[in-house]
């Protein structure tokens, strides 16, 4: 009972702090750097993951537009599969490392990294190269392999998904930075920003058996939203996703999408894969639910070629 109380208070405090901070972050974004904030999306092409991120985040006013001094940050890459970095089933470790470095530079007190992996988590953390890269940058790489780490939260307005068990660090951190990798996906056709959320929750089976697309969109209603989405499109798995079979599945696109609108991010990502965003059901569903804007034409996108 005491433990539960502890969690309740800490979760409550974390949420309050998180909400306040993220509001503060956005407020600052609009107030202090109006020029940079006018972009809904930054798309970069042609550089290394690190160089593209350095340049892209600069256009949004630097990571300090999102991360304030003394804040706790969650960097959530895709670490789903026991696959080496070259096969691009997991977020590029170099990118993860660079983001963490930026966070610390902006004065972050602590940076956490985890993913609820599909393969054995120990192997996955290790063989993805992310554990090593994140630790080298000073982040805490945290397990997400046990239900013990998850807290039940309500999702008001969810059509199919009305509650979920989310990792306690999502609730306890002040800033959530979503770092998915763009991949083909066998059933949803594409995985990107919204689908990366499946690594934040415990019971994915429920999503699969209760209208996967609707659940993916529903989860995006949850109040703890990412401050920014950094979509890795450097090496892109264009078929046999999300796990891949061999290097023949990979096309080097040397691109990156940085956006505060994850529905827009996914719509742009779909086009990178040569797909119509409207055919990826969770994108139009999320758009209709007001969770973001899939009409890229109406957005202010900064395109950079390096």
């Amino acid at each position: 009972m005491r433990r539960r109380d502890f969690f309740k208070t800490s979760v409550g405090a974390g949420l309050a702090a998180g909400a306040a901070m993220s509001l503060g972050g956005y407020g600052k974004l609009w107030a202090s750097s109006p020029a940079s904030a006018s972009y809904d999306m930054i798309a970069i092409m042609g550089g290394s993951p690190e160089a593209m991120f350095d340049l892209g985040i600069q256009e949004l006013g630097g990571i300090s537009a999102f991360v304030k001094k003394g804040q706790k940050v969650l960097v959530k890459p895709n670490i789903g599969w026991d696959v080496v970095p070259d096969l691009a089933a997991n977020t590029n470790p170099l990118l993860v490392k660079r983001i963490i470095e930026h966070c610390f530079k902006a004065g972050a007190k602590e940076v956490y990294v985890f993913d609820h992996s599909c393969d054995n988590w120990v192997n996955t953390y290790k063989n993805s190269g992310i554990e090593k890269a994140a630790k080298a940058a000073g982040a805490k790489v945290v397990p997400a392999n046990s239900e013990n780490y998850y807290q039940k939260v309500e999702i008001p307005g969810g059509v199919k998904l009305k509650s979920a068990k989310v990792h306690e660090l999502l609730l306890e951190t002040d800033v959530f930075i979503n770092v998915p990798i763009l991949k083909d996906h066998n059933s949803t056709r594409m995985t990107g920003c919204l689908k990366n959320n499946m690594g934040l929750v415990w019971d994915r089976g429920f999503w699969h058996s209760n209208n996967l697309h609707q659940c993916i969109a529903d989860y995006a209603l949850f109040e703890k939203k990412p401050a920014v989405n950094i979509l890795d499109c450097y090496n892109v798995m264009v078929k046999h996703g999300p796990q891949g079979v061999s290097k023949e599945d990979i096309v080097q696109m040397k691109s990156m999408i940085i956006t505060t609108d994850w529905v827009a991010g996914d719509a742009a990502a779909a086009k990178m894969l040569g797909l119509d965003p409207a055919r990826i059901d969770y994108i139009p569903i999320a758009h209709k639910m007001g969770l973001g804007n899939m009409n890229l034409d109406s957005l202010n996108i900064k395109r950079i070629k390096m």
Binding site: M45, S187, K254
Partner: protein, 519 residues
């Protein structure tokens, strides 16, 4: 030698052996590579013997060393190397501490008929029928099951408690490990043995080793001609009887200056105890002991054996009446064969050579190996079986094949393992979410490491799974990931003989590196 150094040496040595073997079984974070763990198991008699029958190499000749050692020194194996024996010494010591005033071992007659009958039956059954009794009685396996079924969960409870505390302080070097028990029925035999071995050693020292253990009895027979043994110096002996009282094996008949070598385990307690320095360890001529039977003890042993086997039978009886859960998916998975672990080669080879020591079960990083209840039939009780409702086999892993001490699981190189087909994925369309709910899922195909399960267009915008069994390895990730209950929409049917899976073919994508943003 009359020095008390012998006993101290024995204690120190056996503690090191026991700690190593406990560690082999509870190393849940894989601190030590599997290859090194196999060295710890080299001298374990029964595993080494079975392995030798297959490989006939020095790498599996540990049991020959034990036989040689026994011919030379007597049953030192039981005191120095047998993990179950050393565990009993601890129980026995605890018993002595608690019942200090009443603890008197004293000389007892051997249970000659029982122990030789058990050894005979074990040999007979093993040769004629199968490995069942060895599985049941081999001390290494019994110890292994204690560690796997009871020891490791305790360690995990402590780990999780500590992980919880450290987690509060934002430290995550320990992670929480879910403790998932086995099927209750699988616990019956290990629990019965824990009670049997525990109480016997607590009260009567090494009675289990000298009455039930077939390895003990076999080595005892060899000890009859052993070179070194415990002997009396009649001139020095004052017949105080302290040696007999201290003897865990109750094998010292001090009035006649005799030590029953078939039961003496060379623990050297008597040497340390003797105030006259009349007992020593050295070369001695062979003498014959006189036997008398003790009816009440015989009855006790017969009753406990009946209970033991009776329990096993009871377990089998219960297995039939497992309640069927609420039906949601409708078509039952029709498994014709259980899935044997990688390296098993075939159902037959595996079930004939596995002694259910459970090392692979505890070593498996994914907990996919579970003790069989009825999958392999009665004789295969507790042998490991792949349970894909529980977990799945990691594509990049060969741990179980590396640790197996009997060669029931033959070592597989990683590349060979990736092309070994343990079974075949079978899709049941009528259970599939895509058909029954008309919504997207694809959890099976997503999980498949070779894309033996892939998605094809279905109604509207939906995709539905299809299988290519040629490249299926039978890892079971699809079955594990499938969200339907109670029956899965995809399952792996075991291959009675493991087959070669074809390497998945893959062509370079037609897509190329973009030069312009497509939006």
């Amino acid at each position: 030698m009359t020095s008390s150094f012998l006993r101290r040496f024995r204690t120190g040595f056996s503690v090191v052996v026991l700690i190593s073997l406990v560690f082999v079984f509870i190393d849940y974070r894989s601190f030590v590579p599997e290859k090194i763990k196999t060295y710890f198991l080299y001298f374990q008699f029964v595993p080494s013997l079975i392995k030798f029958i297959h490989l006939k190499t020095i790498a599996a000749a540990g049991f020959l060393v034990v036989l040689g050692l026994t011919l030379f020194t007597g049953r030192t194996y039981c005191s120095f190397l047998c993990p179950l024996g050393i565990t009993q010494d601890i129980f026995s010591r605890a018993g002595g501490k608690i019942r200090k005033k009443f603890r008197r071992f004293g000389f007892k007659k051997p249970f000659t008929i029982i122990r030789y009958t058990l050894l005979g039956i074990t040999l007979f059954v093993t040769i004629i029928w199968g490995i069942y009794l060895v599985t049941l009685l081999d001390p290494f396996s019994v110890f292994g099951r204690f560690m796997t079924y009871f020891g490791k969960p305790v360690v995990l409870v402590i780990n999780n408690f500590m992980a919880g505390i450290f987690g509060k302080f934002d430290l995550y070097f320990l992670s929480h490990n879910e403790i998932k028990g086995f099927q209750v029925i699988a616990y019956i035999i290990p629990a019965a043995f824990l009670i049997l071995v525990g109480s016997m050693s607590f009260l009567k020292g090494r009675l289990y080793c000298n009455m039930i253990c077939p390895v003990g009895t076999l080595l005892g027979l060899l000890s009859k001609v052993s070179f070194l043994r415990i002997k009396f110096n009649i001139d020095k002996c004052s017949r105080c009887g302290r040696c007999a009282i201290a003897c865990k094996s109750s094998c010292i008949d001090f009035l006649n200056y005799r030590v029953d070598v078939t039961r003496c385990i060379d623990c050297f307690d008597c040497i340390s105890t003797c105030p006259d320095k009349a007992i020593s360890y050295g070369v001695v001529s062979i003498r014959k002991a006189v036997h008398k039977t003790d009816e009440s003890k015989r009855k006790f042993v017969a009753a406990s054996l009946l209970m033991l086997f009776g329990l096993a039978r009871l377990a089998r009886g219960q297995e039939k009446s497992v309640p069927v859960p609420k039906r949601e998916s409708t078509v039952k998975e029709n498994k014709t064969f259980p899935v044997c672990p990688p390296g098993a080669g075939s159902f037959e080879h595996f079930t004939k050579n596995c002694i259910a020591c459970s090392l692979c079960i505890t070593a498996c990083p994914n907990n996919v190996l579970q003790p069989a209840v009825r999958q392999y039939g009665i004789a295969g009780l507790m042998q490991p079986v792949m349970n894909y409702h529980r977990s799945f086999c990691t594509y990049n892993c060969t741990v179980c094949t590396e640790v197996c001490p009997t060669n029931a699981l033959k070592p597989l190189a990683l590349e060979a393992k990736k092309l070994t087909q343990l079974g075949k994925a079978i899709f049941i369309k009528d259970n599939c979410i895509v058909k029954t709910e008309k919504t997207a899922c694809g959890a099976c195909s997503e999980s498949c490491p070779t894309k033996a399960v892939y998605m094809i267009p279905y109604e509207g915008n939906l995709l539905i799974p299809e299988t290519n069994q040629d490249i299926c390895t039978g890892c079971g990730h699809c079955e594990f990931a499938c969200p339907t209950v109670p029956y899965k929409a995809i399952f792996v049917d075991g291959n009675p003989v493991h087959l070669a899976a074809q390497k998945p073919e893959n062509e370079q994508s037609e897509m190329t590196t973009p030069v312009e943003f497509p939006f």
